[in-house]
Amino acid sequence: MPTFPSVLLRGLLAGLVAGLVAGTFAYFVGEPRIDAAIAIEERASHSAPEADAGHHEEELVGRDGQRAGLFLATGLFGAAMGGLLATGYVLLRRRLRTVDDGRAALLLAGAALLGAVVVPFGKYPANPPAVGNPDTIDQRTGSYLLLVVLGLVAVWAAALGHRSVRPDAPYGLRAAASVGGFLLVTAVAYTVLPSFAEVPADFPATLLWEFRLASLGTQVVLWTGIGLLFAVLLGMSGGNRRPTVQGGPGRSAGTPDGADAPAGR
């Protein structure tokens, strides 16, 4: 069994690389939308000069710096998420009933994507500049973080539901139990947490939609990349021998060879 530091290192590396890939996606798909939203924001703040003056006037970091900062942010964020995924993997590996380490890694990454990204996004979708009331930032941040936790609880409830049904029962029953557990927690969380309707009436709907899609896409690229890279790196432990490349129809588009070498060690 590989040691925790070696697994952690693989997770950090997978996260850093996936973060940079996600940053590249965000750069090409998301940045044009941010620019458009900032143009709207500046038009609005020029017509209403008392609204938090000095926010964009002093320009601590210019737009070019912010575009470079995008890669810094996604790279560091990705590394942190990869490290957290690796830690979760080490703690939960023996509870995941699959023999394949790579499959376990992908399963955990998928669970994280669903619980920590998709569930929060359903109630608190990403907002472009010019959307969002600065006065509610504390409540929005707190609610968002709480929903990240509750999203992970919902995924955990899905696993519990899956296990609560006997293995010899029809598979549809097990699937229904896990979907039910997930939906129950998600529905309660969506109902209990406060809503924030802060999109200005004149903000272009198309731009908002495109920005949110770009944001969700960035996270999907990030977590897909982390999962695939982490699975690949887990298969290449120790350097005792190369993973047996089977060249099958890989589910690992765009990643190095041996993505699904199950018995690679």
Binding site: M1, L60, Q66, A73, P128, T218
Partner: protein, 67 residues
């Protein structure tokens, strides 16, 4: 335990207390990193705006509340 994949029910040792504490320390460090990238100076603390400005586009596109 040189070949864990041969043993079907994954005979890995139970999570030891030492591993748990190490994991906790790692999670704390990574949470701090996440905080600095995604939340500090803007969304939570207001002791400056540099991190907010630098990470601005990343925060928006990663979907965390920014401002």
């Amino acid at each position: 335990m040189s070949n864990p994949t041969s043993a079907r029910p994954l005979r890995q040792p139970a999570v030891s207390a030492r591993l748990l504490w190490t994991a906790l320390a790692v999670v704390a460090v990574l949470a701090l990193l996440t905080y600095l990238v995604a939340f500090d100076q803007g969304a939570v603390s207001r002791n400056g705006m540099f991190l907010h400005e630098l990470m601005h586009d990343g925060r928006h596109l990663l979907g965390v509340p920014c401002h």
